[in-house]
Amino acid sequence: MSDLRDLYQEVILDHGKNPRNFRKLEDADHQAEGNNPLCGDRINLYLKMDGEVITDIGFQGRGCAISTASASMMTESVKGKTRAEVEALFQRFHELVTGEAEAPPGAPELGKLTVFAGVRDYPIRVKCATLPWHTLRAALEEKREPVSTE
């Protein structure tokens, strides 16, 4: 299972088991729901904004280790960032997991998120890794319709 270690890195297994910010924000001012019909993954995302800046973020739902870990680590990395910064980060993350661009060593803006580089070898799992990000974008745009990866 050696090559699979790239996909299921310790950090991912850890965040998959013990997700951070796994809670509903009662006073959220933005929220969105995301679904991956293929595997039945579901995520509810809650945001508190101060102007352009995300001041707090939480999520709930159920999903595979990849999607849960991605949501958990996303919440850690976007707190305190502006919309524009989040959008730029998502672009970089998307390139990373789809293999469109090699992450530069240490890719400063991605930080710990580079552990998801292994996803690029498993195309059907890209949706798992990006579902939380699509849902975040929907929450920022205040979309009412649940987002779907299909």
């Binding site: 299972m1 090559d3 699979l4 996909l7 299921y8 310790e10 297994l13 850890d14 998959g16 088991k17 013990n18 293929l38 595997c39 039945g40 993954d41 579901r42 159920r62 999903g63 595979c64 280790a65 990849i66 849960t68 498993y122 799992r125 798992c128």
Partner: protein, 411 residues
């Protein structure tokens, strides 16, 4: 008993590797592998007698027509239907069910009528009836399931009533493996004057099927789940219904006479086969039927039952595992859905893939059943004639490994 080693030699794909390990193919409920004779039948048609059927007055067309129609006779014999004209070829089981929903349903369902389904149906046997019910103002009723994944028959008198116009249920669940007591249900529905359709997509490939004994009005199944090629489905229907129902699709072949403003219909079964059918794949399906007939469906069922009993016993010892469906092997076919505590089925499937073991993880086109089981997905292993106890051992070892890899994360 099956000579499984001899059977395996007929399937070249079973000798290949996946991710550097010998392939263990356990996704037979999705589609089965095809023996060499089936693949050869396809090639032979295209190389030696490719021609359209029912049209040409030349030798090749006559030959193709004869081979195609001969498979209709084989199919009829395989399910115990005395009249080959009651066998309609479609694209798949889904299209066969839709044929009934359109042709029969739009003619005979009226506002207030009830259509009885179950909570374990595949989307193919749910959505066509939802569309029909919405259009006609009919009502859908569902037979529930028990904790161990069998049909809950207690309040049946309340569900199957004089208002029931159609009972449409699966012979065997593609998730739980449950073999349903369809015969008594059909008798009950008939006593109330209802019509009965059996979704045989999982039943026909794995169990002996005799339509006259079942007394179902319609039976739908797919060739690709029983050693045949994709692109061929079968609808069996009682002649009285097939005669009375309007056609499904309009076009060539299904007509008798056409004027500019109207047409009359061809005889059965061609009334329901508009346009050029899937000639090559139907002919190859004939080779699949021969193959199964030679083994015998009783032997197929016995082999799967033995393998399933062994797998249930071995899997139940894995820490954290939960197995869905009937506990007793008499009530189930060769399908085992399971999950592991705290591990998503998709992750199970991914790690098994790395071990060369192909299973399915997901909702298996049964989202309402997933809701009922209160899970988002399950992992599912499903067997066929070529699977062995050694392969079950590979499955179990791989599942144990998944459990170990993930328990690393909590410690």
């Amino acid at each position: 008993m099956l000579d499984v080693q001899a059977i395996r030699k007929d399937f070249d794909i079973l000798g290949r590797e996946m991710r550097g390990k010998p392939l263990v193919y356990l996704d037979n409920a999705a589609t089965t592998q095809k023996p060499r004779v089936v693949i050869e039948a396809l090639v032979e048609y295209y190389q030696n007698y490719n021609a359209n059927i029912h049209r040409g007055i030349y030798y090749l067309s006559e030959l193709a027509t004869e081979k195609y129609e001969h498979v209709r006779e084989k199919t009829a014999r395989f399910i115990g239907a005395p009249d080959p004209a009651t066998i309609i070829f479609t694209r798949n089981a889904t299209e066969a069910i839709n044929l009934v929903a359109y042709a029969w349903g739009r003619q005979y369902i009226e506002p207030g009528d009830e259509i009885v389904l179950t909570e374990m149906e595949h989307h193919s046997n749910l959505v066509p009836w939802q569309l029909l019910a919405q259009e006609k103002g009919a009502r859908l009723r569902h037979i529930g399931i028990t904790e161990d994944g069998r049909l809950a028959l207690d309040d049946l008198d309340e569900i199957i009533t004089e208002r029931t116009k159609l009972l449409s249920i699966t012979r065997m669940s593609n998730v739980l493996g449950t073999i349903n007591p369809v015969k008594p249900l059909i008798d009950r529905a008939h006593a109330k004057g209802a019509v009965c359709l059996i979704d045989g997509a999982q039943g026909v490939p794995h169990l002996p099927t005799r339509v006259l004994e079942l007394d179902c009005d319609f039976l739908a199944f797919s060739a690709h789940k029983m050693l045949g090629p994709t692109g061929v489905g079968v609808l069996y229907g009682k002649r009285e219904w097939l005669e009375r129902m309007p056609p499904f699709l309009g076009g060539g072949d299904m007509i008798s006479r056409v004027w500019l403003d109207r047409a009359t219909w061809n005889k059965l079964p061609w009334k329901y086969e508009a346009g050029t059918p899937n000639i090559a794949d139907v002919i190859a399906f004939g080779a699949a039927l021969d193959y199964l007939e030679q083994i015998g469906m009783e032997a197929v069922q016995a082999h799967e039952r033995e393998l399933t009993a062994y797998a249930l016993e071995q899997l139940s010892r894995v820490p954290g595992i939960r197995i869905f469906g009937p506990r007793h092997v008499e009530h189930r076919g060769g399908v085992i859905s399971f999950d592991l505590e705290g591990i998503h089925p998709h992750d199970i499937g991914q790690l098994l893939d790395a071990e060369g073991v192909a299973i399915r993880a997901g909702h298996h086109c049964c989202q309402p059943l997933m809701e009922r089981l209160d899970v988002s997905a399950t992992a599912r292993a499903s067997f066929y004639i070529y699977n062995t106890e050694e392969e079950v051992d590979r499955l179990v070892a791989a599942v144990r490994k998944v459990e170990r890899v993930f328990s690393r994360a909590v410690s």
